[in-house]
Amino acid sequence: MSISAIQPVPFGRRLKRFMADRPLIPLIILLVILVVILQVLRPGIVNERWIANTIKFAIPLAILAGCQTMTMLTGGIDLSVGTVATMSAFIMATQVVNQDPAVAFLLAMMPAVLIGLVNGIGVGVFRVHPLIMTLGTSLIGTGCLQVYQRTVIASGAKIPDFLAWLGTGVTYGFPNALLLFVPLAALIVFTLSRTGFGRLLYAVGDSERATRLSGVQYWQVITALYVISSVLAGVTGLLYIGLIKAPSLSLAEPLVLPSVAAAVIGGTSIFGGRGGYTGTIIGALILTVLTTLLTILQMPEGARRILFGLIVLFVTAAYLRIVEER
């Protein structure tokens, strides 16, 4: 045993093992490479302001990607996060005109809880596939929002000052959104690694039958999970409206698929049981930097999308190859 340990291992394999043990390292390296490319293409672009801006835009994506991470750990997915975020943002912006902000907040979070509950019961109790279930509730939510827009609101919309401050404000060079995000991210990481609920997410995604034989009631876990996911999406919507400042019926919709991509790039398996939130955060940062990079290349929109898709595919495939030990 000791002899083989002393024998020199080829550098390539050693590097691979090193990376496999610390899956975050290759992701961070990739992020740094992207930033360096950006700096080379546009010298001087990477400054304090740019960093703050990137973080500001990465945060809503990272929270939604957190929803995907947690649902994907159980082998699910939550495609309703975009609609839920849009609904809570839209309701907040329109209700705050006439209501007390606290009341408006509660009204804004109501659809989030409701959709989460429906998702959870559909997936956990009636065993509808999460993809179909959340897609369905997402469509229903969008429809309801259209009805709401036409019938309920008489007045205009307004972005509460607090949300604008949280979404766009910068204090001592740090985006204010970090005040929300850092505790939230810490909570998610803690939940996944150090709580019974987090353990169950991994275990259910790995083998539902094994958890059942250990006494785990699947529907409880899944219902709680989708409610949490929806509530996070609702909070993201409020943060995002503070950032974008223009309520619309498709506000957060463009974030849905990137949120899935961020979780996958971050190393969470779409088949369940594997992954974590720290990787997802870096995945969200990578996607945000990549978007900036493609924007400054001044390519036509079509070419930009093609390139974006190709890069996401390539990065995911390469990352899995590096990290998976065979």
Binding site: A203, T211, L213
Partner: protein, 516 residues
């Protein structure tokens, strides 16, 4: 023995990795005979059948069909060579109607219909979707489909299992006639009664080898049992025990009364006391899977009661059984483990199950409990990051360690030593005895009879979904267990063999059970 054999296989061997499923099997079937293929669980029957029917390929050996060497590469090739199997699982595609299923295999419809009528199902509508047809009828349809193409050698795997008596009788009749008409049938069955009534000769397999070919004459079942057991017939040492057994406690820990599950488990009653290891002895598919699943809360029984500490209980989810202190260790380790998770998380899994334990984990306390369970079972934790990297034996230990850590009062162990090494087996035997020594109770099903004597206090024999006998392990040896498992009366020797009296009903001679 003058006629040339229709099928002649010699020296057939098959390895799965390092495990030899078949070493040196041979089987020779003459025209006009019904030939029984026998062997204990794991002797290699199903591997041999799969090779003969082209489902898998042999590593060595020669297969002659009508004297010609044939390379049976695929089920289609076997079919062309005139070899047709009927397996235990129905083979009709559930979403197609019967007619489409026939077309799929190019089976002629009229002969099929004739055989179906012959087999005692006069009113079959071949437009019925297979899914809507009851299991017993499906099996008969499988047989009719095979008969319709007039195979030279028909291979029947446990054909009469799950058949009601009237259909079974028709099937046996047809099989016998098939033999009389100069074709051949290979008949795999656990039932001596059928074999004696039907078969001309029997080939006995043990540990992947053909150990004997016998003519079926009255009294031969003793010889078959001997052949199946081989040299292991010596009575194994019975572990010292009994000190912890206190018969005075009165109320049993677990009481099962007339338990029924679907058609598989018909009538099972027994008690399990604290400090006792009770062994369940049964051949494959006699209802033991259903019994354990029902006790574990995985499936709901269709009748009868389960009592825990004298109180009747109803389980609708495994959590109910776990709360009652019944922990289930399934035979398939993949079923019990989250393979990508660590040893620690797998052992601690039941701790987090209840809603009130979803909060922060007390890592130190958890670690202490897990480590003590790991030490107790001596789990090799070098690869503890992912359970899937552990050896099979260590994986099995993790599934048991989980319930040691959770301090379950009763452990339901379903074939825990399947496919693990001898050393680990010994450790598991010791552990189960220790548990009993500490006042826990264990219900232990094993496919290896030898283990019953090493581990158990009492033996519960299940045959055809019924408890046919219960006796203390001291009163038995391995041949007796084997006889019991085959539904033969305990202690009976050759002179009162069931073959001497083919009309004897198995259940008549043992525990009284309800007539079917």
């Amino acid at each position: 023995m003058t006629a040339n054999p229709l099928l002649d296989a010699t020296g057939v061997a098959k390895n799965y990795g390092a495990v030899a499923a078949l070493r040196n099997a041979s089987l020779s079937v003459l025209p006009g005979e019904v030939h029984a293929l026998m062997g204990a669980n794991g002797a290699g029957k199903s591997t041999l059948v799969k090779i003969l029917t082209g489902a898998i390929r042999a590593d060595a050996g020669r297969i002659l069909i009508r004297g010609e060497a044939r390379d049976v590469r695929s089920p289609a090739a076997a079919r062309r060579a005139g070899l047709l199997p009927v397996y235990q699982e129905p083979s009709l595609i559930p979403d197609l109607d019967v007619l489409s299923n026939l077309r799929l295999t190019g089976t002629p419809v009229e002969p099929f219909r004739a055989w179906v009528r012959e087999l005692g199902i006069p009113d079959l509508d071949i437009r019925d979707t297979a899914r809507d047809i009851p299991l017993a009828v499906l099996r008969v349809l499988d047989l009719a489909r095979a008969l319709a193409v007039e195979p030279d050698v028909l291979l029947l795997d446990e054909m009469t299992a799950a058949l009601p008596a009237n259909l079974a009788e028709k099937v046996l009749e047809v099989v016998r006639r098939q033999g009389d008409s100069g074709r051949a049938v290979i008949f795999i069955s656990h039932r001596f009664v059928e074999i004696s009534a039907l078969c001309d000769r029997a080939t006995v397999l043990r540990d992947g080898e053909t150990v004997g070919v016998v003519d079926i004459v009255p009294g031969v079942e003793e010889k078959i049992v001997e052949l199946m057991l081989g040299a292991r017939i010596v009575k194994t040492h019975v572990a010292a025990r009994g000190a912890s057994r206190n018969a005075a406690t009165g109320r049993p820990r677990l009481g099962v009364r007339n338990l029924r599950v679907g058609t598989k488990l018909n009538d099972v009653s027994f008690d399990l006391a604290d400090g006792e290891v009770a062994g369940v002895v049964a051949l494959e598919g006699q209802g033991q899977d259903e019994l354990f699943s029902a006790l574990a809360g995985s499936i709901r029984p269709s009748g009868g009661t389960i009592e825990v500490d004298g109180q009747p209980v109803k389980f609708s989810h495994p959590i109910d059984a776990i709360r009652a202190g019944l922990a289930y260790v399934p035979g398939d380790r993949a079923e019990a483990l989250a393979m990508q998770r660590s040893v620690r998380e797998n052992i601690a899994l039941p701790f987090s199950a209840a809603l009130r334990n979803w909060g922060p984990i007390n890592m130190r306390q958890e670690r202490a409990r897990v480590v003590s369970a790991i030490e107790r079972l001596q789990i090799d934790t070098r690869a503890q990051g992912e359970v899937q990297r552990l050896s099979g034996g260590n994986q099995q230990k993790v599934t048991i360690a989980r319930w040691i850590a959770a301090d379950a009062r009763t452990i339901l162990c379903f074939d825990p030593t399947r496919g693990i090494d001898v050393g680990t087996k010994q450790e598991i035997y010791k552990l189960l005895r220790e548990l009993a020594g500490h006042g826990k109770s264990v219900l232990f099903y094993t496919s290896e009879l030898e283990e019953v004597q090493r581990v158990c206090d009492r033996v519960i024999v299940i045959f055809g979904g019924r408890v046919v006998d219960i006796f203390p392990v001291e009163e038995t040896d391995e041949p007796a267990l084997m006889r019991a498992a085959y539904g033969l009366p305990r202690g009976a020797k050759a002179d009162v063999g069931i073959l001497a009296d083919p009309t004897a009903n198995i259940s008549d001679s043992t525990t009284p059970v309800a007539a079917p």
